[in-house]
Amino acid sequence: MKRLFPRSLIGQMALLIGGALLIAQLVNFALILNERQKLSLAQNQGPAITRFAAVASDFGQAPAEFRTAVLEDSSRRGARFSLDRQSAVPESAGREGAIETRVAQALAANGVRAAEVRAAFGGELRPDPAPRAARPHRSPGGPVLVISARIGAGAWLNGRLVTPRPDPWLTVRLAAATLLLYLIVLGATLFIATRLARPLRDLAGAAERFGGRGEPISVTPRGPGDLRRAIDAFNAMNRRVVTLLDEKDRMLGAIGHDLRTPLASLRIRAEGVEPEAERTRIVATIEEMNAMLEDILVLARSGRDREEQRAVDVTALVDALVEEYRELGRDVSLDEDAVRQVLDVRPNLLRRAVRNLIDNAVKYGGSARVSVLRSDAALEIAIRDAGPGIAEDRLAAVLEPFARLEESRSRDTGGSGLGLAIARAAAEAHGGTLRLANAPEGGLVATLALPA
């Protein structure tokens, strides 16, 4: 049921307008049909009433001996007249008040005085008394209107008159007209809806693709005026955002350069500092500042780096990194079963992410066991340490920039606080994720999942 209900604005609008229009049209149709049927009946009854009044007038004006002849003479072509002691219409049984009024008016107009008029539909027409009336009626089968007028004491002039059959095509014609109107309005609605939908879809697509890199995405303005204005505004905003991001990049580049130069100067001068213990500490501080500066610049630029994606053997990339740690004497190893896994990646960004994760594992857990595995939808690089892990409620928090577990700000354990944030940003730049979890057998597992 949920699937049947459209989610989009345009779909909902079309459905709503279509539905409301359908209901309105049905009500309209019913009302018109009712009116037209009444009108049609009135038109159909007109001749019968006039004929009855004429016969009544002839009857009243004829000499007494000819009166029966008048009735007999009139009883043809779908009509029977008779003079009876009782009304052919019962006192109370489906009487047609409107017709009775019109009959009374017609009688009065013809100079016939009637004390009471009754009218009702029903009954059959008795066969024609005259043989010549055996020829078929012109309009057979229509409802028989029975009119009865009391024209004297205990004398009722009863007339049975066939009325034309109501137009059988009336309903069909009316339904066809209604349907045609419905289709025209619905077609116009759908036309407007699609005219709105296409530019809106373009706009949404451009907003989704917008990565802040390179040339700003421009959507061609089309559709109604206010939509064009929205698209123009989006394009302008896009350009402003790209300009701002470019400015940010330039500023970061300038900061990086301007801070590195005095750091480099300090680093050179530090070489002359005595005693050696002091020199070692100064050099360590300068290197820490430089590493933090580097991390900040990388994180600030993440998502906007201009590195191209290339097909890379990710296992070899991880293996080369692991090898560099081993050469430095760190306890880092790659799963022996790791096989060649080719993926389109940004190798430098990925290398930095994996390096940060291995750094953390070595720093907090003393060692790093790295594996590269392909699951159905992702290539997973998992780094497990032998440390104490992280409290479950802190797992998400440590991924945030500048998050630390220690209160200490010492470089030995604290770091810049950006390593995991950079690794996560790198994963997201590849459309992947970074997960942290405590392994059941102890230690923290960081899993970098890249969509395969």
Binding site: G253, G256, H257, R260, T261, P262, L263, A264, S265, L266, R267, I268, R269, E271, G272, V283, I286, E287, N290, E294, R306, E307, R310, A311, V312, D313, A316, L317, D319, A320, L321, E323, E324, R326, E327, G329, V342, P347, N348, R351
Partner: protein, 239 residues
């Protein structure tokens, strides 16, 4: 004192230029300073320079442009000083023919070590033999790309190498079909980078074979020469 190597130091930052010149002077080098590319050209025209230390980011003509000029006109080796760590700078710098680079802030001791390494390589010839003298080397089904410092297979897939593996493979492709002893390999592969080979050459050879040989237990590319060392058995084409 004429034996002192003569270094031209080009940097627009006085805070770098002065202390670095002083440090190099203390370490046995004769240093001439220049604060822009034009001044550097004048010095190059007037003196016999053994090595140029060149800042990349300078107002006006920058270090990369000057590297191109130096490479086009002489064989003087160049070490770039860069404040930008981005890989692209390194690639562009090395493609233009810089012999090495250091990222600011750098350790002055490491810089001196690199100066020594570059001078040792260029000694005698007086020419820069900046190690990757080609964009890449094709051998067997592989291409070793010097810009990105990686191995690319026939299908275009990049196979990243560790620094040690890259340097070792570079030694092989620049000396194809020559038997290289372990000492020669150590010397050749340590020339550019100071990454210490704590583990043996044999270990690196076996790692390389795992990456490039179709069957590492029956190597067809890097062959062992009994008693002599190793040799790259494939033809190498410079790209």
């Amino acid at each position: 004192m004429a034996n002192e190597p003569h270094i031209l130091l080009v940097d627009d930052e006085r805070d770098i230029r002065e202390p670095l010149a002083a440090y190099l002077g203390r370490n046995g080098y004769r240093v001439t300073k220049a604060d822009n590319a034009a001044a550097a050209r004048q010095v190059l025209a007037a003196h016999a320079i053994d090595l140029i230390l060149l800042d990349v980011m300078m107002p006006g003509e920058d270090g990369l442009a000057l590297t191109g000029f130096v490479r086009a006109t002489s064989g003087t080796p160049v070490i770039l000083l860069t404040a930008r760590a981005e890989e692209t700078d390194r690639i562009v710098g090395l493609e233009l023919g810089a012999d090495d680079y250091v990222t600011k802030p750098f350790s002055p001791r490491e810089l001196v070590a690199r100066i020594k390494a570059v001078l040792r390589r260029t000694e005698g010839s007086g020419k820069s033999v900046h190690a990757p003298d080609a964009d890449g080397y094709a051998f067997g089904p592989w291409v070793l790309r010097t810009g990105e410092r990686e191995l690319v297979d026939a299908g275009g897939v990049a196979v990243p190498l560790s620094t040690g593996e890259y340097n070792l493979l570079l030694a092989f492709v620049t000396h194809p079909k020559r038997v290289l002893s372990r000492d020669q390999l150590l010397d050749l592969s340590q020339g550019r980078e100071l990454a210490a080979f704590e583990r043996s050459i044999d270990n690196h050879i076996s790692r390389l074979r795992r990456k490039i040989e179709a069957d590492p237990s029956d190597p067809k590319l890097i062959k062992t020469v009994w008693g002599g060392g190793y040799t790259l058995a494939a033809d190498v084409r410079r790209l």
